[in-house]
Amino acid sequence: MSKTIPFLILVAAAWSARAADLHPPSEATAGNSISILTSGSGKATFYLIGPASVIKRQVQAGSDIAVDGDDLQNSGRYIAILCGSDGCGSSPFLVNPAAPNRLSLQVHPSRVPVASVNGISVVAFVFDNFHNLALRSPPVKFSILPKDEKPVSADRPVENGVAWVRLTSARKQGTTEIGAAIGHADEIRVVQQVAAEACNLRIHANRDKNGFLVETDPVRDCSGNPVPDGTVVSFTMSDAVGKTTVDVPIKRGVAKIAMPIKGRARISAASGVVTGNELEVGG
């Protein structure tokens, strides 16, 4: 008899420990309601701690606890806890992202020189409706929608919620649209393709009343696009006195400067890393 009573106490203690047991599903989907089974009896406090939520409410142990989808919108680790008068029991579970339906599209740079090989980086982060990274997703469809030309598109796989592609800019300057699509999401960014560095810089000179007027031919890049106004062309004059360099911005497609030259002189021009022809004037 003296050994039976402690045994019964142990059994009762074990029973009361079980009283706080709860059994959530091992996995759930973001935004979907779940029901958590509990055992035991009497009043208890239910807690649910998630990535962005903390729930605390009074429940009846032994009944099922309904958790609304609104409280399970964040994908990640949740801990369900049930505390009765005899202690607490807990059970963790994972909430997985819902179906992919949103995109965060990053396109860099926003201005790119023409014919720039792999010069445009396009990265799409794939999310579900609740901003969870969708780690399992069908491919993302990337599209290039140039003005006055046929659109081009290609699928790229999503790994760990990310799909990406590198693009070469067109040979003709102007805007182009770059898009990405998945589910109901369709994002578009605009990239401005601008003329690249000047190419085949050529200058010519004409006498004027004070010396020479030195002028470039229309300055274009290697694809034939006019280099934007404001791009600097450096004119260098070497004569018996020494060397003089003058920076001149392009206006209406050409750069020009009046140079007071006495005697013989050599004139050259450069823009960026490109040098043009050399003239010998005077005499």
């Binding site: 990535p51 903390v54 990640g76 963790p92 969870n132 760990n160 990310v162």
Partner: protein
């Protein structure tokens, strides 16, 4: 009992008290220590990681965890401003505010992170990482501990560069031994 025995018992009791105080102190000060982060970028792509970025990522990620642990322990959402942005900051701020509403807080004992770079955007403006985090987690309702377990969780992390540091933009648990 002899005087020597009495002194021995007293000394033992005092030593035990010191140990208890030390254990309590270590727990309390856990959030003040920067967690240990082992960073590997051996399999990252498509952009190779620059030397400076290789140093900054584990440093800033460790500081992000430190501030997160402190914010969740002290219920101070303002601490999240330093190393979190975007959805990560929104979610954690919501969680701290709900903790405040429920009269709860949590305490982490951080046992370290194995952080692996898995994607570095070609333009260098985003990095995705996988973290295996090992922490001891205590959940408090008021002053009462309602949960106390070691947990081992895997996270997918999205970090983006800020003015002088990398910020955590997304921190999403994806599994683990005890998810």
């Amino acid at each position: 009992m002899s005087a020597a025995s009495r002194y021995s018992v007293l000394a033992l009791a005092f030593a035990g008290l010191l140990c208890a105080v030390a254990v309590l102190y270590l727990r309390v000060s856990a959030s003040n220590e920067v967690p240990r982060v082992e960073f590997s970028a051996d399999n990252i792509g498509p952009r190779p990681v620059e030397d400076l970025t290789r140093q900054h990522i584990p440093r800033d990620y460790a500081l992000a965890w430190q501030t997160m642990e402190q914010a969740l322990e002290e219920n101070r959402p303002d601490l999240l401003d330093a190393y979190f942005t975007g959805f990560a900051k929104e979610d954690l701020t919501k969680r701290v505010n709900r903790q405040i509403g429920a009269g709860m807080h949590v305490r982490y004992q951080d046992r370290g992170h194995k952080l692996e770079g898995i994607f570095y955007a070609p333009a260098g403006d985003a990095m995705e990482l996988r973290d295996r985090a090992q922490v001891d987690l205590q959940i408090y309702d008021g002053g009462k501990v309602i949960y106390d377990e070691p947990i081992d969780t895997q996270y997918i992390v999205l970090m983006t560069p800020g003015a002088d540091r990398w910020l955590v933009r997304k921190l999403q648990a994806v599994g683990g031994e005890k998810p």
